[in-house]
Symmetry: C3
Subunit: 219 residues, 3 copies
């Protein structure tokens, strides 16, 4: 029984932590785009909850958790308020924010894969939805801010790979009946470490072969 | 019993009126963006129905009302046809359009909050979905037109605040068991008046504190 | 009984063909936007599956077919891999790609209308969802790539019209109880031919009347 994986309160705390750090990244982009206080709050909410809401709509878990758990809704507002007052300080510790974001990435790809499987999806689809949960909020953030999604750009450090690795590990653990609290934590930690290394060493994914520079479009 | 609030025909007429004015705002943006007649129709439909469709997907009311009531689908086409032929005249009475849009904002935040509560969501989530219903169509309109959503920009008059006030009033009225036709109308009128005053006096929401102009990005 | 229309394997093969050509168009745009290999894969998946996923969420067919049929998920990855290695060759045969895309348009507007009707929607809503199925993926592709959707632009050849004609034909065939394999194929072929003629002769839809060039905004 997968729901025995973690005690509910531990799972809930991890979810709130992931939501908080994603909300910080949304609020920071809103400040950089010169949005007002409501724009900051909306972008914080969308970044933190967007991936999970899309996953829940797809697996048929309606209303999505974001609309049944008041903490999920309030946490991004706390992050938005913090950034509203303290954004210069937070931007100065940008490294710290990215570390937290990497932690959110790890937590969400594991939680998303597990929840999709609990709702009856196959292993591959569950892993895909784990990646959607982890990366979807950031894509929604960038679309709302009218920017090309970071996830798609070649000049950004790897983001999809750690989520794919983490979600695939969870799917394989389920397949071999080895998913438990410890192995879940290992999958989340693996995604976190790969993302951290990618940022540390500037790992990037290749672009299409034979990409002619003449046709390069600056994005 | 909340469904006794209004006679169905009154509620339906108010919905159609709100849909019409939102569709006008979508069609006008499409003309300004130089879209063709189908682009005008698509943007009118998306602006008018987008917020309600998202709300219905989240609360599990599928298929959404926009796909079960033919009037909801046809009304934006009427608005698109009107703008196709008469856009110079309509733009000249832009003030009138904005007044109608403010009325749509008031009607939709009340109707959205009420419907979400009827589907079993909590008071806070219902109010959030009231705001989503009122503001979501405009966000979808701007995303499809590849513009930064008005809702998020600091250089636009308050739009979120009137929706939040109206939706919160409805939630409080439900909480204290005082929601009826008269108090619903009062909530819608309050949102309408706040939005109208915001446009009249150019009320804007603050940006993040200590916003350094050097880092300002023109959006 | 509509599900007797085609043998399942024929329908499935047609779906996979449509998914493949739409994925090619997404992957090509990703290469043109200079995205990395994951951006190419994400845009291929979104273009190929986006319209169908939105349709399935709206009609309540969750989880959407894209998440229950592994072939639907793998096909865009094949297209992405092909474009990753062979994009110069594929771009050189751009005409061929557009012909396949027109075929996908025809197949998807027919399949989308039929599926929506099977899930109990009215004829008009079913036709609308047929158009959403055929055109939605392309809109999602353009939004994710931060471009104005082709569907809305006046300077692109007709795309909505063939989808509307095909979907309307299916709705009328259902209405008069004449939908079968042959008439479905005729509807798909009609959409395909109209789209092909529109590309061949540069057919475009009109913009709003009295469009003053002074207010034209380059998009």
């Amino acid at each position: 029984m997968l729901t025995d994986l973690y005690t509910p309160s531990v799972q809930h705390s991890l979810d709130l932590a992931g939501i908080f750090v994603f909300a910080i990244s949304g609020a920071l982009l809103a400040v950089r785009k010169n949005f007002d206080v409501f724009g900051i709050a909306v972008l914080a909410e969308a970044t933190a909850l967007g991936g999970g809401v899309v996953r829940d709509l797809i697996i048929g878990a309606v209303p999505p958790a974001a609309f049944t758990d008041l903490g999920y809704f309030l946490m991004p507002l706390v992050a938005a308020g913090l950034i509203f007052f303290l954004h210069p300080q937070v931007e100065r510790i940008n490294g710290a924010v990215l570390v937290f974001d990497a932690a959110g990435l790890g937590l969400f790809c594991v939680a998303g894969t597990t929840k999709a499987y609990e709702y009856g999806l196959g292993l591959t689809s569950s892993a895909v939805l784990g990646v959607v949960t982890a990366a979807g909020g950031g894509v929604l953030r960038d679309v709302l801010a009218n920017e090309v999604p970071s996830l798609l750009r070649w000049d950004r450090d790897l983001y999809a790979v750690p989520a794919i690795v983490g979600a695939t590990m969870v799917a394989l653990l389920i397949r071999f009946d080895e998913l438990n609290g410890a192995t879940s934590a290992l999958a989340a930690a693996t995604a976190f470490v790969i993302r951290s290394l990618a940022m540390r060493y500037g790992w990037r994914a290749p672009r299409a072969w034979h990409r002619r520079s003449s046709s390069a479009e600056e994005v």
